[in-house]
Amino acid sequence: MKNKKAVLGGETVMWIYRFLLIGIMLIGFIAVISNFYSVKYDTRPAESALLARRIINCISINSIVEIKAFNSDKVSECAGLGKEETNEIYIDALLNYSSSSRVAIGDFTLKALCGSKGEYVPSCLNQKYYLLLKQNGNLERAKLDLLIAIKKLEKNV
């Protein structure tokens, strides 16, 4: 003779097991789908490369830069940054020749975060350009160290 109570208890356990199994599958499925479709498109590296190219092409002609053209107004004009952008971007250009000259635009705190590891850090681009500097009609070798840091965390990370 069967134990009726035991059969009933066993079936209840089976139903809990079935629902639990479906629940686990459901959570797994949703997790995979949301993970796949919520991939962030980080365009900051492309943006900084474009910005660097724009600045270099604007301040120099045929790789010759005039010392008069190397100032924050000119670099800012070349970059074409909007008002909001200056809080999200930092541009640091150091021109080394027989002397040196520096131009810095934007939020300088971003520079300190360059090189930090983690997801919520600015995207930084460090480039070196070998140029000729025109000063008083004379040409001399110069090296431009250009650092561009872009924050824009909300929309990229």
């Binding site: 139903w15 459901l26 789908i33 952008e85 971007i89």
Partner: protein
């Protein structure tokens, strides 16, 4: 005499089948929504246009083939009407967006 236990079992199975069908339908809806999601289209569209404008030179005309409504405010590209996504671009040039014709004209100076 009615088989009460059999009825209970049948009801439980019917409930279980309905439950599974409901979950399957929800999953299909969720997946298709995520796959063709407007959110992704807006995000990608705004960023693509912003990058194009970052790289564009004067005397360039960009014709957009996207069906997402696009607006330009200052140096922001705004994609979509409901929950729009905006992304900023940088350009020293004058940028004119003709929204009806989905055309962007870039000319020399601001």
């Amino acid at each position: 005499m009615k088989n009460k236990r059999g009825q209970e079992l049948l009801l439980m199975h019917i409930f279980y089948i309905i439950f599974i069908v409901f979950i399957l339908v929800s999953l299909i809806y969720f997946t298709s929504n995520a796959a063709k999601g407007e959110g992704i289209k807006k995000r990608v569209g705004a960023k693509q246009i912003a990058l194009l404008l970052d790289a564009a030179q004067p005397e360039t005309i960009i014709i957009l083939s996207s069906d997402i409504p696009i607006k330009k405010e200052d140096n922001q590209i705004i994609a979509g009407k409901e929950n729009p996504f905006s992304y900023s671009f940088f350009s020293p040039f004058k940028i004119n967006l003709v929204a009806e014709e989905k055309r962007i004209e870039i000319s020399e100076k601001k």
